[in-house]
């Protein structure tokens, strides 16, 4: 800091040409904490993960043994791994479209003429801001298969065998995706609402004069104009879906019968229950790769539907 400070005095003496150089030098100094932090907590760990997936680690003695692509081979030949990939993709297939559509729907509601908009908006956002683990503790009892309020309501309505939710291997994963959507949709709602409010009323008035119906107006005006926000949210939702973990850890522990072991939960179990960090790293690298592929695909596909003004 001291040198930058002194150079500041030199500037005062009129050597303006050195201003840029001075700022550049100070810039490096200012960025230093961020650079060091990034190196320590992102860059080096990434290199470590790569190495970790190639070496067998003994956590007692901190000795390493080179295994090449052995852990990747093991991973690709592991039926549990492929189940976890399938579970993650199934989760995404529900979570991503549901969160986006629900968020858009809620934003459209809030954007229309209504009373008590603020209250309804608050209701929509509350799950997003509340402590996730706390809400999961609630969901756990709320969806209790025999006595929970949801099923006792269903039974009083005459449903003889209501779904068993977390203990039924066909229901568990979709329910977790549903809870994930419920939790996150408030964020989508807020961003969609902001985008909708940014659409000029003039467009709608012009379209109405031309005789465009509700659906046509949505398709030709609203959708293109909010598409940058939709695209951003799509990316966020994909990343969020791939990294979903809390529901599995709190509600199902990956079960029943492995049906909710997503890739993230598989990583967690491999590393922290079986202490196989190398295998977990290999799965993690695969997850990272999958993230990049999905982001890249959508990045190129955006030209077809995202409209930048």
């Amino acid at each position: 800091m001291e040198t930058a400070f002194n150079e500041g005095k030199r500037v005062r003496r009129g050597r303006a040409y050195s201003l840029e150089r001075l700022e550049r030098r100070a810039g490096l100094l200012f960025a230093l904490p961020a650079l060091v932090g990034f190196l320590l907590f992102v860059f080096v760990p990434m290199i470590c993960v790569l190495l970790l997936s190639l070496y067998k680690v003994d956590l007692m003695t901190y000795t390493f043994e080179f295994k090449g692509f052995g852990f990747y081979d093991k991973m690709l030949g592991d039926p549990d791994f492929w189940k976890s990939v399938r579970n993650t993709l199934t989760y995404m297939a529900i979570y991503v479209p549901l969160t986006l559509l629900l968020g858009l729907g809620m934003a459209l509601v809030l954007n229309g003429k209504m009373r008590a908009r603020g209250v309804v908006r608050t209701f929509f956002i509350i799950p997003y801001i509340t402590t996730y683990v706390a809400t999961l503790v609630v969901w756990n009892v709320f969806l209790h298969p025999t006595e929970g309020p949801v099923n006792s309501l269903l039974m009083s309505l005459g449903v003889e065998r209501p779904p068993q939710y977390m203990v039924d291997k066909h229901w568990a994963l979709p329910m977790l995706a549903l809870i994930g959507s419920w939790k996150d949709v408030g964020y989508h709602c807020i961003l969609f609402l902001a985008a909708l409010q940014g659409v000029s009323k003039d467009y709608y008035e012009a379209a109405e004069i031309d005789g465009a119906g509700r659906l046509q107006r949505f398709k030709h005006i609203t959708f293109p104009l909010i598409s940058p926000t939709s695209f951003f949210l799509l990316l966020i939702t994909i990343i969020g879906g791939l990294q979903a973990f809390y529901q599995m850890a709190l509600l199902t522990k990956g079960g029943p019968a492995f049906s909710t072991t997503t890739m993230t939960y598989h990583i967690y179990r491999s590393a922290f229950e079986f202490y196989n960090f190398s295998y977990a790293s290999a799965v993690g690298m695969f997850l990272f790769l999958l993230t990049l592929v999905l982001i890249a695909v959508n990045w190129f596909a955006q030209k077809k539907w995202v409209f930048y003004q």
Binding site: M1, A4, G8, K9, L19, A26, G27, L28, L29, F30, A31, P33, A34, F38, F41, V42, V44, P45, M46, C48, V49, K113, M114, A116, V119, V120, F123, I126, P127, I129, T130, T131, A134, T135, V137, V138, N140, V141, F142, E147, W182, I190, L191, A194, T229, F232, L242, Q243, F245, A249, L250, I267, F272, F277, S281, G284, L287, F288, T291, L292
Partner: protein
Amino acid sequence: MPLGSNIRYTVRSVVYLLVGLVFITPLLWMISTSLKFEHQVFERPFVFIHWDAVNWNNYSHVLTGTDFPVWLWNSVFVVIVSVVFRLLLSALGGYAFGFLKFRYSDGIFFAFLAAMFIPYQLTLLPQFISFRFIGLLDSHWALILPNIVDVLSIFLMRQFFLSFPKELVHAAYLEGSGVFRSFVRVALPLAATPLLTLGLLSFFMIWDQYFQPLIFLHSKELYTIPIGLQSFQTQFGKQYAMQMALACLAIIPVLGVFLALQKRFVESIVSSGLKG
């Protein structure tokens, strides 16, 4: 407004209000159950609140008979320290990348951004091993340190400083301030709004963290609220009313902050989302 459309308008609003209430049913049920006795939890017919016999004991038990106050303190400590350091680092970094610039700063920043796609579960693996190696495991610093470096936060501060008026800073130079002093005196005060935004978003994110304490902490006296809640749930699996009281207490701090700063919070999300 003609009477007919006025009624329709009101009816529609009421319907939406009900939809909103249905949306938060689990949380309403949580409040209801937290005020009941255990034998009333699954009672039929369902009663929202037994006004004549409200059971406050769940709360008093949670506050005095469990470690909740300790978890609360731990959460507050971890969140505040993390957020303060994160803001400091992000303000400095954002100023460097967005305003001052230096050799290769844009390139380096691009590498930063790429890191946003790394699943956090992945970087936690080597972090766990290295923390274990240097003996940082089972301490609050294991939770705090990784939280300080947040690419999104640096990104948001950079976006702010990219459009920061050069004249203001240059005027400070002419008055004899160095780069650091003009940053503290001129740039930082004007960055109060984005910093508050960032602080608020970070508060909610770090408060929610469960995976990190799950793997980094062993000692119960170090638990933060999420992991404490989970340990309570595992230990007292059948005491549902108590669990709900605990969940309620866990939510109250964030809900309080949210309701107090709701307008700003919504603006925060919008500004961070649209720029990101």
